[in-house]
Symmetry: C2
C-alpha cells in the first residue's frame, strides 16, 4: 500500500496525505481528521526507504554489541539494549545492530553503515581513554552519544554522553559499611589508568577520607580468581579489615570465596549482575534503563535541531545500592 492508495481512499491528493503526516498544521482540521482516520483504518505506514531518499534521514540509530568477557560483569548489554530499543521506538527510531572487535574495525563499520544504511546517529559503549571512535565521529560531525564519559579533557573529546556515577556508587557502598560500624574497609579494583576503575576507586577513598579514615587497596585485572587472590592478600596484610568494596561483581565474587570461616568479611560488588543476585551479594546497581532512555533523548533532541543546543550535553545518573546478605 502506498500513499496514493490512501489518497484515493480518502478522496484527496497524495500531498495532502503527506501533509497530514508531516505538516498537520497546514491541513484543514476536518480534512486532517478524515485522512488520519483512513490511514488508521488501512493501517498505512510510510515507506521508510522512499522517505529516506527524499529527506536524507533514516530514523535508524546504530549501536555496537561486544562479546562479553567473563560474562559476569558484561551482561548489562541486554537490559541496556532493551530499553534503548523501546525508548527509540517511542521517538520514532529503530535500532540497528553491529559488531566490532576493536576501535579500528568499528570505524570501518561506521564507513560501511554510513554508505549503505545511513543511520542518523550512533551510540558508543565502553568508552575509554584515547577513544578513536569518538574522535572519528567528532571530526566528521556525525551525531552520536556515548554511554560512558569521555575519559579525557582534551577539547576534541567533548561530545554528548550519558554515564552512571561510579564514584557515587562506591561511595554509597562505603558509607553503608561505615554506617554498619566497619572502620577498616579495603578496596579491590583494577590497575590505574582505566577511567571507570579509577572513578570507582575514588568514591571509596572519598567516603573514607570524609571520616578521616584510609584503607588498603589492591589492583588486579578483572576476574573471579584475581579477586580471590587479591582479597586473600589484602586480608592477610591487615587482619583488622572487616569489609571490602570491589570494582566489579567478578572481583567481589572472588572476595567472597576468600573469606575464612572464623572471620566474617562484608563484601560489596558493582553492577548488580545476575550472579550477584544468585549468591546474595550486595552490589551497586546501575540504572541501565534510564541510561538508555537518556541516550535516546539526547540523540533525538540533537537530531530535531541539528544546530541549536550545546553539542556536548551530558547526563550523569546516580546508581543505587542493592543490599543483600553479603553486607
Amino acid at each position: 500500500m502506498t500513499i496514493t492508495d490512501v489518497a484515493k481512499a480518502a478522496g484527496v491528493s497524495r500531498q495532502t496525505v503527506s501533509n497530514a503526516l508531516n505538516s498537520p498544521e497546514v491541513v484543514r482540521e476536518e480534512t486532517l481528521k478524515h485522512v488520519l482516520e483512513v490511514i488508521e483504518r488501512l493501517g498505512y505506514r510510510a515507506n521508510q526507504a522512499a522517505r529516506q531518499m527524499r529527506t536524507g534521514r533514516s530514523r535508524l540509530i546504530a549501536i555496537g554489541i561486544e562479546p562479553d568477557g567473563d560474562g559476569i560483569s558484561g551482561s548489562w548489554a541486554d537490559r541496556f539494549l532493551h530499553s534503548l530499543s523501546e525508548t527509540a521506538a517511542q521517538e520514532g527510531y529503530r535500532i540497528l545492530l553491529y559488531t566490532a572487535a576493536d576501535d579500528d574495525s568499528e570505524i570501518a563499520t561506521y564507513e560501511d553503515l554510513l554508505g549503505a544504511y545511513k543511520p542518523d546517529a550512533f551510540v558508543l559503549t565502553a568508552t575509554h581513554h584515547d577513544d578513536l571512535r569518538a574522535s572519528w565521529l567528532l571530526e566528521r560531525g556525525l551525531p552520536f552519544v556515548a554511554f560512558g564519559r569521555p575519559w579525557s579533557d582534551l577539547p576534541d573529546a567533548r561530545h554528548p554522553w550519558v554515564d552512571v556515577d561510579g564514584a557515587a556508587g562506591t561511595e554509597a557502598a562505603t558509607r553503608h559499611l561505615l554506617a554498619a560500624g566497619h572502620r577498616r574497609i579495603g578496596f579491590i579494583g583494577w590497575p590505574p589508568g582505566s577511567g571507570v576503575g579509577d572513578d570507582r576507586r575514588e568514591g571509596w577513598a572519598r567516603a573514607l577520607s570524609r571520616q578521616d579514615l584510609s584503607g588498603l587497596q589492591r589492583a588486579v585485572e578483572d576476574g573471579i580468581a584475581a579477586g580471590e587472590s587479591a582479597a586473600l592478600d589484602l586480608l592477610a596484610a591487615d587482619p583488622g579489615v572487616t569489609a571490602l568494596v570491589c570494582a566489579s561483581d567478578s572481583l567481589a565474587l572472588g572476595a567472597l570465596q576468600a573469606r575464612e570461616p572464623g572471620r566474617p568479611v562484608a563484601v560489596i560488588g558493582f553492577d548488580d549482575t545476575p550472579a550477584a543476585r544468585a549468591v546474595g551479594l550486595t552490589s551497586v546497581h546501575q540504572p541501565l534503563g534510564e541510561a538508555a532512555a537518556a541516550c535516546v533523548d539526547l540523540l533525538a533532541r540533537a537530531l530535531e535541531s541539528p544546530d541549536a543546543g550545546p553539542p556536548s550535553a551530558h547526563v550523569l545518573l546516580a546508581p543505587t545500592l542493592t543490599i543483600r546478605q553479603s553486607a
Copy 2:
C-alpha cells in the same frame, strides 16, 4: 557519493558500475577489475534505501529482544545477538531490533516494521505452544526462522527453526551423574505444558529408564526461591537422593542453597549462565553462537531462492555439559 560519481571516475556509465556490483558476469573482465578498483579507492557503498526501492529488498533482519525475567536464565540474548549480528553482516544483512511485551504487541510491531522498514525476514525467539507470531507470519508467507522448535504438530505450525536439544542436555547431565555413581537422581523442572520444560524433563527420565531407574521430580515456576523449596521438599521426601538435575540455573542455584551440611548433593543446572560460572555450578551449555549462525544461514538460503528448497528446514544442535565443582 553516488554511483554516478563512480561512473565518472571510472570513465564508464552508471549502469556498468551497477552491473559490476550486481551482475559481475555480464561485464568484461578488464572493465570489471577497473570499476571494482575505483569503487574500492573511493570507498563507495550503494545506498541501501535507493537499492531497496528498486529491488524491494532491505537486507534487514528483524529480531525482538525481551526484558529478561529474573535476569539469571535470561541472559543468553547477549551472546545470541552478537553472533547473529556478526553472521548476518558476513552475509550482507544487518540486524534491526525491536521490543514487544507479548505476542499481540509483537504482531503489531511486525505490521509497523513491514510498513516502514520492510525487513526481509524475522527471527523469533522464545517460541511456545500456540505461538500467534509464527502463525501470523506463516499466513502471510513472510520469511522467518524461529530459535526454538514449533511446540505443536499442527501442519500450519511448520516453519524453519533452529533449536538446542534440551532433552539431550539433561540426558547428558543425568548420565554424567550416573557415571559418577549416583543412583537416586531427582529432577526439578517447570509445570508441564511448556515445550522447553517438558523436553528437558524427558531427557532426565530417558537416561534413568535406560538404566531401569526412576526418580522423584518436582515442578515449580522458575526462580531461585522456588528451586530451593522444591529441592528441600524433594530431598525430604526421599533421603536417598544424592543428585538433582534442574531445568534452569535459577532452579539449580536454589537447589544448591537447599543442601544441608551433612548431606552432599550434586546439582546440575541448565543454560551455563554467568551465575553458574560464578558459583561453580555444573550446567548444560547451549551453543548460542552456532544457533545464531544457523538462523542466519537458514534465512539467507531462503531469501536467495524464494521458492526452492523445503520451507521447513531445521537445525537441532547438541548442547554440551560444562562441568564444575557442583557435580
